[in-house]
Amino acid sequence: MKGSRTGGDGGFRLFVGAFAVLVLAVVAAIGIELARESTLSIQKFGFGFWLTDVWDPVSGEFGARPFIWGTLYSSVLALLIAAPISLGIATYISELCPPALRQPLIFLTELLAAIPSIVYGLWGLFVLVPLVRQLEASMPAALRQLPLFSGPPIGLGMFSAALILAVMVVPFISSLAREVLKAVPRTQREGAYALGATQWEAIRVALTYGRTGIIGAIMLGFGRALGETMAVTMVIGNNPTISWSLFAPQYTMAAVIANEFTEAADELHLHALIEIGLVLFVITLFVNALSRLLIWSMNRQAVSRPATKIEPAKIGSAA
């Protein structure tokens, strides 16, 4: 394709290439800007910022450990709920359901992803939280003694946040897991059936084959849950403490930024909040990159190792 015309081609390539570079630049700019705007807090507190528990803007003490805890705890809880459900959905849609139901079901799960976070928050605050409060109140006193269920029944707290988060990440995990299952060669299942496997045993073979990609899908859901802001802010109770209790009001990194950013009185407070944003950015970057890598390697594996080599022709010729 080289010739007299390549001059014009080069110009076009340069033009669209410039826009492509811009996308790279935006990601880099986010990291640089966040680092630049959080220098005060980084210099003043150093790594201790992440190891101390006191968050007191009035006296200028900032320790971010409760937020890290809240973010990780809520996301892990959400995944514990969402991962099995998402895998069930993915399996049902791709392996089990009648073809006529497939598109409508995919559409329904996509609707879950289309509902804005703020609407989840509104529903969580006015519908889910009162339900959780009732559940907490009706819990037998013996169970309430356990650290997992301690605290007054207010409804706002870790459990409500985890429930909402779980609903929000289900569509992401299930649609990716569906893609992964689609990439599993048919021969895997056929082989299992040929050996006399039941339907579930054949599905287990497919799930095992795609485990790398499925872990990737769950990681991606984890990344989503870590950064989710509005719905969590509205139901988690916004109290910077570290507690195992499901019913204790806690706080997350994203929520504290959302709540305190416009009210930050001095620069140190603002920089501390931006530093939290910076770390959230780095964590989600890492989690997302890892999950893409897993899904990508799964797809490559599926492509490079296509249908296992069963060759009936040979059997025929031998006979």
């Binding site: 669209v16 039941t198 416009t262 990159a289």
Partner: protein
């Protein structure tokens, strides 16, 4: 015999559980839609679309300024993201083998996974701080940043669906690569690309976190891009977390309007995509 029976039973139970998990996911969806519609409709009236918010304590008023604000913010976002998204999408698809293309693809996926609140902090840093003012532009930049990866990846995918024969035909007629792409390949994929933009708009219109400290909020009408602006989502947040009964009502009404906009856009885009898949591009 009993072992076979046990394996069959396990299989039936597991398959049943898979079906149940679908139900478990559909229940919250139904519950959310039910509450948004039933609560929202009670508070929805003509005033909601024509009036601005009233001071605390008075009842009535509406969200006209917030609705306009949301539309303008999404528009500004699209203004920024559509050119960047489409051209970088063209680069990724037409120069797919290059190292830059893989890097940009990775960057776009990364950007897609960055939490929206972090994008808000970024827009605060590059627009609000230098101008020392919350503004509609800052909100637009935040939303635009979020739209870029969605449009870029969608454009890339759609361009890849355009048959190679179209490109080759144009090149055989003596067109430059650029001309072939802009006059033959891009138009073939355009309906799908536009659908992608609509989907991106639907997603962006529902964003709250990136607007909290960029476009901020405003009780009054505003169409000046350099001023703080109300948006439907931030208004819902403010109202929902307030202690006033009447404001809660309005928050539900706002949610109904928002969900309607988002769902109508998604459904239209989905229908259009189905139709496109059936007729043109694939062929």
């Amino acid at each position: 015999m009993s072992r076979t029976w046990r394996r069959r039973a396990t299989s039936h139970i597991a398959v049943g559980l898979c079906a149940c998990s679908v139900l478990v996911a559909v229940i919250p969806l139904a519950a959310i839609l039910f509450f948004v519609v039933s609560q929202g409709i009670q508070a929805l009236n003509w005033d909601f679309f024509t009036k601005t918010p009233v001071p605390v304590g008075e009842t009535g008023g509406g969200m006209s300024n917030a609705i306009i604000g949301s539309l303008m913010l999404s528009g500004l976002g699209a203004l920024m993201a559509v050119p960047i998204g489409i051209f970088s999408g063209i680069y990724m698809s037409e120069y797919a083998g290059s190292r830059l293309a893989s890097a940009v693809r990775f960057a776009a996926d990364t950007l897609n996974g960055v939490p929206s609140i972090v994008i808000g902090v970024f827009a605060y840093g590059i627009v609000v701080l230098p101008f020392k003012q919350f503004s509609m532009i800052a909100g637009g930049v935040a939303l635009g940043t979020m739209m870029i990866p969605i449009i870029a990846r969608n454009t890339e995918e759609l361009l890849k669906l355009v048959p190679h024969t179209l490109r080759e035909g144009a090149l055989a007629l003596g067109a430059t690569r650029g001309r072939a792409i802009m006059t033959v390949v891009l138009p073939a994929a355009l309906p799908g690309i536009i659908t992608g933009v609509v989907l991106a708009l639907a997603r962006i219109a529902g964003e709250t976190a990136p607007l909290l400290f960029t476009s901020f909020n405003n009780r009054f009408w505003n169409v000046d891009p350099t001023q703080p602006t109300a948006s439907l989502t931030v208004q819902i947040f403010t109202y929902a977390t307030s202690p006033y009964e009447d404001w809660h009502r309005q928050a539900w009404a706002g949610a109904l309007v928002l969900v309607s906009i988002v769902l109508i856009c998604s459904i239209l885009a989905r229908v259009a995509t189905r139709r496109l898949e059936k007729m043109s591009i694939g062929g």
